[in-house]
Structure formats: structure tokens, C-alpha cells
């Protein structure tokens, strides 16, 4: 039942917010804080009580397994930190008269609905419910992307809505094909992932391949895999920073895990070569394209968005390689979530102070915002995979997993990662250490926009060296599920 309470929390919070007046800003903030803390506590409880290898079924439509627990942990913990940050961030925007109290209320209602949709998608026992929930994430975030009502934001949101909906409909077609597959085998209505797994060995092999292609292209659009990534830099670049953080650090993982659930079925049906090869090459293409575009970026938020494409590529590559690569990819997913959310939130502080996302207008961040700048630098080093940060080990393990079997692919990936690192460094160095842009005040805006960043960095450092036993067991279980063990 804990899972049901956890999923219901953001929904109830959204419902509660509907009845508050926009002028009751303190009550709105308290409600968001309480929901975030309740969610985090319930999630911690789930994590501590989860039995390795088990599937906890809740009613007809929800089930908690290692994969969904991994996602739930990311959604609840990162969601909690982002909620606290968003309160401070929006206070600053109201203070600067960028938005009014009515927009703050709208923001948090949609924010809570977004969290709710992601939690349902992560824990759906049924592929159709998962699709409904992922589509709901698109619907709840479209208005958040166009939040500032500017033509560029509206254009980005429309692009996001159309491309993602198209992708998800193609994914839905693939889902329906998977559901049609077992009808001739076992008869009756196929409801859950467990039903599909039980029938997978009897699936028609060629239809399975066609269906998985639809899934990969469809849900892959939401993951941001190249070449279906075109919506991502615009949406992540134009959304308010807390939303960009959730889109990059959380939503992409939810979509990727959806693909991996179907991958498990394909592997049970026809072996792992087909799905693994596809994931590996889509991953490699994503790393290469993102690395090249990072090099030529002019906006730091878009740069972070392309970095997300690169890292989704790394995760897909790791899962494609299998074995230790799968486990390393899941570690990478966790590390990427923390560091990318940190970077987007830090970029929010920079945007608030400098009023621009363009590199040409932002220089000397370390002088204007020393703590934010330091955290941005640490986030950059962490996400680049430099030792001793955890991402160094996950990247190293992924690359070494393919060193014997796919040496050429690994070399190309390594070169692309080096290009991405240099491209990132080339932009970030003058932004952080250059002379201060004229007319920009010095000093951090508020504690409420700093503490969440410190918590993220602290968590990242801790789990780089010490990984709690329940989380380690969960990751091993999840890797086994993906590998269809």
C-alpha cells in the first residue's frame, strides 16, 4: 500500500493546490514542501523494505519491481529537491516581476501532476497504462515549457507536443503489436508485463522485431535518442530551470526504462542480439551527434540538453553491450540524474542573475555567484566522468564491457566523449572564470536556491564512494531484469 500512497501524494497535492487562491503563496509553498517530503519518506521506506527479486502487486494496475523502484527512487528524491528549489526560484521570479502569483500556482499544480504521471508510468503493471501515463507526462509539461508565454517558448512547446505525441503514438502501435502477439499463443486478455513475459518464448520472431522497432522509435523519441531528439534541446532550453532539470534528469529515464521493459520481452523471445545491436548503435549515434553539437553551442541550457542526449546514448550503449555494461548503465543513469539536475538548477541561478542563457552575455559566474559557480564547476567535472566521481567508474565499466567484443565502437565512443568534454569545457571555462559581465551584481540570490544544489552534490559524492546496500541490491536486480535473467 505504501506505493499507492506514494503515487497518490503528488496527485492529492495538485488537487489541494487547485482550491488555494494564488495570493496564498505561503500555503502553496507549504503544500508543495509537505508533498515532497512525504514522497521522499515513503520512497525511502519502500527502498528499505523491498525484498530482492520480488514483485509487489498493488491492485490490478500497479506493481513494484526493481526497475520501477529504481525509477521511483529517482523521481521521489530528485523531485523532492527540485520542489524545494522551485519554491526559491519562483520567489525570485515573482520578486523580479517576471511572473505573478497566479503563474506560481499554475506551475506547482502542473509540477505535481507531472510527478504523479511519472510515478504511474514507472509503476504501471500494464503496458497500456504505462503508455497513458507517459502521454500524460507530455500533456502536463507542455504548458510548463511554454510557461513564460514568449513566442520561442510557445514554438518549443508546440514542437515538443507534436513530436512527442507522434513518437508516443508510434510507441503505442508497437505496444499493441506486443499485446496482439500472445493472443494466438495463450488466448484471453493479456494484461500485465508478467503475462507478456510468460508468453514471450512463443512470440512470432519477425513480428517481435517489427514491434520493437516501433517501440524503439516511439519511446526513443521521448528518450531523446538520435535522430528522434530534435524536440529536446528546444524544450529543455526554454522551460523554467526546475522543469528542465526534471525533464533531463528524470523523464528521460522513465522513457528509457519503458524501452527496456520491451527489450526484456524481445530478449526472452528471440535472444538479445537484435535489441542489443539496435540500442548500441542508437546509443553510439546519440553520443557522436551530441558531442559534435555541444562543440558549437551558444546557450548553456541547450548545451546541457545536448549533454543529456549524449548521456542517454552512453546508457543505451551500456545496455546494448550487456553483462557488466547493463549494471554500469544503471549506475550511470543514477549519477546522470543527480549531476544533470544539479547543473540545470545551477543554470537557473545563473539565469536569474545574468538574465540570459547565451554564453556571449554570461561571463565571470565565479565572481558574481561564487557558490553556484563552484557547484556548476563540480557538476561539470562530475558529469564529464572525471575521477573520483562515480560517473568515471560507470563510463569506464561501460567502455571496458565492450573492449573485447566491439573495440571499434568503443574507440569511436571514446573519441566522441572526449570531443564532448572538450566542447563543454571550451564553453564553460570563460563563462565561469572570465571577467564579470558589466552591470551584474555580486552575491548569491538566496539560500533556498543554494541548499538544494549542495544536497545534490553531497549525495552524488557520497554515492560515488559508498553505495547503500539496499540500493546496490536494487540495481543488481534491475540489471538482471533487463538482461532477462
Amino acid at each position: 500500500m505504501l506505493l499507492a500512497y506514494l503515487i497518490a501524494t503528488p496527485f492529492l497535492a495538485a488537487l489541494f493546490l487547485v482550491f488555494l487562491k494564488p495570493t496564498q503563496s505561503r500555503s502553496i509553498e507549504r503544500a508543495v514542501q509537505v508533498a515532497a517530503l512525504v514522497g521522499a519518506v515513503l520512497c525511502a521506506n519502500l527502498l528499505m523494505t523491498f525484498e530482492s527479486g520480488s514483485i509487489q502487486v498493488v491492485g490490478k494496475y500497479l506493481a513494484l519491481d526493481a526497475l520501477s523502484l529504481l525509477l521511483t527512487t529517482i523521481i521521489s528524491s530528485v523531485g523532492c529537491v527540485v520542489a524545494f528549489y522551485a519554491i526559491g526560484y519562483l520567489r525570485q521570479e515573482v520578486k523580479k516581476q517576471i511572473i505573478g502569483p497566479r503563474r506560481v500556482k499554475q506551475f506547482f499544480i502542473l509540477f505535481e501532476l507531472f510527478l504523479f504521471a511519472m510515478l504511474v508510468a514507472a509503476n504501471a503493471a500494464n503496458p497500456v497504462l504505462m503508455w497513458i501515463a507517459i502521454e500524460a507526462t507530455t500533456l502536463s509539461t507542455a504548458f510548463l515549457i511554454s510557461f513564460y508565454n514568449k513566442p520561442t517558448a510557445t514554438e518549443a512547446a508546440w514542437k515538443y507536443l507534436i513530436i512527442n505525441s507522434l513518437g508516443l503514438l508510434i510507441g503505442f502501435l508497437g505496444t499493441l503489436l506486443f499485446l496482439a502477439l500472445p493472443q494466438g499463443v495463450i488466448g484471453g486478455d493479456i494484461m500485465t508485463w508478467a503475462d507478456l513475459r510468460a508468453a514471450a518464448s512463443e512470440f512470432h520472431p519477425v513480428v517481435v522485431k517489427v514491434a520493437f522497432l516501433f517501440i524503439l522509435v516511439g519511446y526513443g523519441t521521448k528518450v531523446g535518442l538520435v535522430p528522434m531528439h530534435t524536440w529536446l534541446p528546444d524544450a529543455h532550453g526554454k522551460a523554467p530551470s526546475p522543469i528542465s532539470a526534471l525533464l533531463s534528469g528524470v523523464l528521460l529515464n522513465v522513457a528509457l526504462i519503458s524501452v527496456l521493459r520491451f527489450k526484456g520481452l524481445v530478449d526472452l523471445s528471440i535472444g538479445r542480439e537484435f535489441s542489443s545491436t539496435l540500442l548500441m548503435y542508437f546509443g553510439l549515434a546519440s553520443i557522436i551527434v551530441a558531442a559534435l553539437i555541444i562543440f558549437t553551442q551558444r546557450s548553456y541550457k541547450r548545451l546541457l540538453a545536448y549533454s543529456s542526449i549524449e548521456h542517454m546514448g552512453v546508457i543505451a550503449l551500456g545496455i546494448g553491450l550487456g553483462g557488466v555494461g547493463t549494471l554500469a548503465a544503471l549506475f550511470h543513469m543514477l549519477y546522470h540524474s543527480l549531476s544533470k539536475v544539479l547543473l540545470f538548477l545551477a543554470s537557473g541561478n545563473i539565469l536569474l542573475r545574468f538574465g540570459s542563457t547565451k554564453f556571449e552575455n554570461v561571463s565571470g559566474v565565479m565572481k558574481a555567484l561564487p557558490i553556484t559557480g563552484g557547484l556548476f564547476l563540480a557538476g561539470f567535472l562530475a558529469i564529464s566522468g572525471l575521477p573520483p566521481f562515480g560517473m568515471f567508474f560507470s563510463k569506464f565499466l561501460i567502455l571496458s564491457a565492450g573492449a573485447e567484443s566491439h573495440i571499434g565502437v568503443m574507440l569511436i565512443a571514446l573519441i566522441a566523449l572526449a570531443v564532448a568534454f572538450y566542447g563543454f569545457f571550451r564553453h564553460v571555462s570563460p563563462m565561469l572564470f572570465g571577467s564579470l559581465t558589466e552591470g551584474v551584481e555580486r552575491g548569491e540570490a538566496s539560500l533556498s536556491t543554494l541548499v538544494p544544489l549542495c544536497i545534490l552534490m553531497g549525495t552524488y559524492i557520497i554515492i560515488s564512494f559508498f553505495f547503500p546496500e539496499p540500493m546496490l541490491a536494487m540495481l543488481h536486480d534491475a540489471a538482471d531484469m533487463i538482461s532477462s535473467k
Binding site: L139, A142, T154, S165, L176, G184
Partner: protein, 218 residues
């Protein structure tokens, strides 16, 4: 399924297919709405017949909701939006009509080609219908790509959604009623949100043409 029944469903499939083809050829937005209503009528009739013949009350409920939402409410809703956004009553294709027809023919041939032949394993008696459904999916996707207008893109998306649920109905896929209603709810919310965006785009860009939405590249 008997031969006669397959024939009826194939006929409804053809209605939905032709509606999608004509969506490429008409210029006026109101004509697009009428064609969408016709296509939705074919879809809801398919569901109703399947429910009626299979004595499946939940399927008949779904068919009634589909009919109410897509055939009755959506056209009126879209009509009101188009009335508000005067001056956006038509949109053209990127490709001219002969080229568009050529691409449509190519897509139909592709749907009937060997590429999709394996799908007939799911329903060996009626590969022709399976292929027609695939063609309908491809043509709807092409509508999204080929039209310059934001409104036409929206109708293209809804046509694609129609074609996919027709596909599901054809394979006899059944979902529990709450999930079916959840799917329809998603679509309704999608329509409302997309319509809201039409208004925003019109206010901010002064047009509904995608040609004028190039601010992101600046």
C-alpha cells in the same frame, strides 16, 4: 470472424482510409474537420459493431464515448476555434498535389510490400486489411509532415490516433474499461491542450502557418 463481417470491417477501414487521403487534398480547415468526423464515425462504428456482435457491453460503451467525443463534440469545438481564429481557414502542403498523390501511392505500395508481410502472421485471414491499416498509419504520419498549417498538424495527429485504435480493434485487442476510458481521456486532454496552443500561436505569431514559426532557429 466470418467473411461477411470481415467485409463490413474492411468497408469501414476503407472509409477511414479515404478520409485520410482526402485530408491531404483539401485546403480548407473546415473540410479537414468534416473528414476527421467521417473517419471517427468509421472508427466508432467499428467498435460498436465489434461490441454488438461479441455481446461486449464495455466495448459498446467505448464506442459510444468515441462517437460522442470525436464525431459530435470535437467538430463543434474545432469549428468554434476556427471561427475565433479568423484568417486561418486554410493551409497548403509542402508538396504540390501531383507529388502528394505520388507519395501517397508510394506509401500504400510500401504498406502492401514484403516489409509488413510478417504482420499478417497476427491475422492470416486478412492481410489486405492489415496492410490497409498500416497504409492509414503511414498516410496520417505523412499528413503531419506535409502540411504547413498547425491546425492540419493537429488533425493529422488525431487521424493517426484513429488509425492506431482501428488497428487495435481489428486485432481484437481488448483492454479493461478503465484503461479504455483513460486512453480516451488522454486524447480529449490532448485536443484541449493542442487547441489552446493554436490560440497562443495565433496570438504570438499572427498566423497558424508553420512557415512563420522559425524563432527557435534565430
Amino acid at each position: 470472424m466470418s467473411e461477411n463481417l470481415l467485409g463490413i470491417f474492411f468497408l469501414l477501414d476503407i472509409v477511414a482510409f479515404l478520409a485520410a487521403v482526402f485530408m491531404h487534398l483539401v485546403k480548407r480547415s473546415r473540410s479537414l474537420v468534416r473528414l476527421y468526423a467521417l473517419q471517427s464515425f468509421a472508427v466508432s462504428m467499428t467498435f460498436f459493431l465489434l461490441g454488438f456482435l461479441g455481446d461486449d457491453r464495455s466495448l459498446m460503451i467505448v464506442a459510444s464515448i468515441l462517437f460522442f467525443v470525436k464525431v459530435l463534440v470535437a467538430p463543434v469545438f474545432f469549428g468554434k476555434i476556427l471561427h475565433k481564429l479568423s484568417g486561418s481557414s486554410s493551409s497548403s502542403n509542402y508538396l504540390n498535389t501531383p507529388l502528394t498523390l505520388l507519395v501517397l501511392t508510394g506509401l500504400v505500395l510500401f504498406a502492401y510490400s514484403k516489409v509488413f508481410l510478417p504482420l499478417s502472421a497476427l491475422y492470416p485471414q486478412a492481410f489486405v486489411s492489415v496492410a490497409l491499416n498500416i497504409a492509414l498509419v503511414l498516410i496520417s504520419i505523412f499528413l503531419l509532415i506535409n502540411r504547413r498549417g498547425v491546425f492540419a498538424q493537429m488533425v493529422g495527429m488525431l487521424s493517426l490516433e484513429n488509425s492506431i485504435i482501428l488497428f487495435a480493434a481489428f486485432f481484437g485487442l481488448r483492454h479493461p474499461l478503465p484503461l479504455e476510458i483513460g486512453m480516451i481521456f488522454d486524447i480529449v486532454i490532448w485536443m484541449v491542450i493542442a487547441s489552446f496552443f493554436l490560440g497562443m500561436i495565433y496570438r504570438q505569431f499572427g498566423t497558424l502557418s508553420t512557415e512563420d514559426m522559425k524563432r527557435l532557429t534565430e
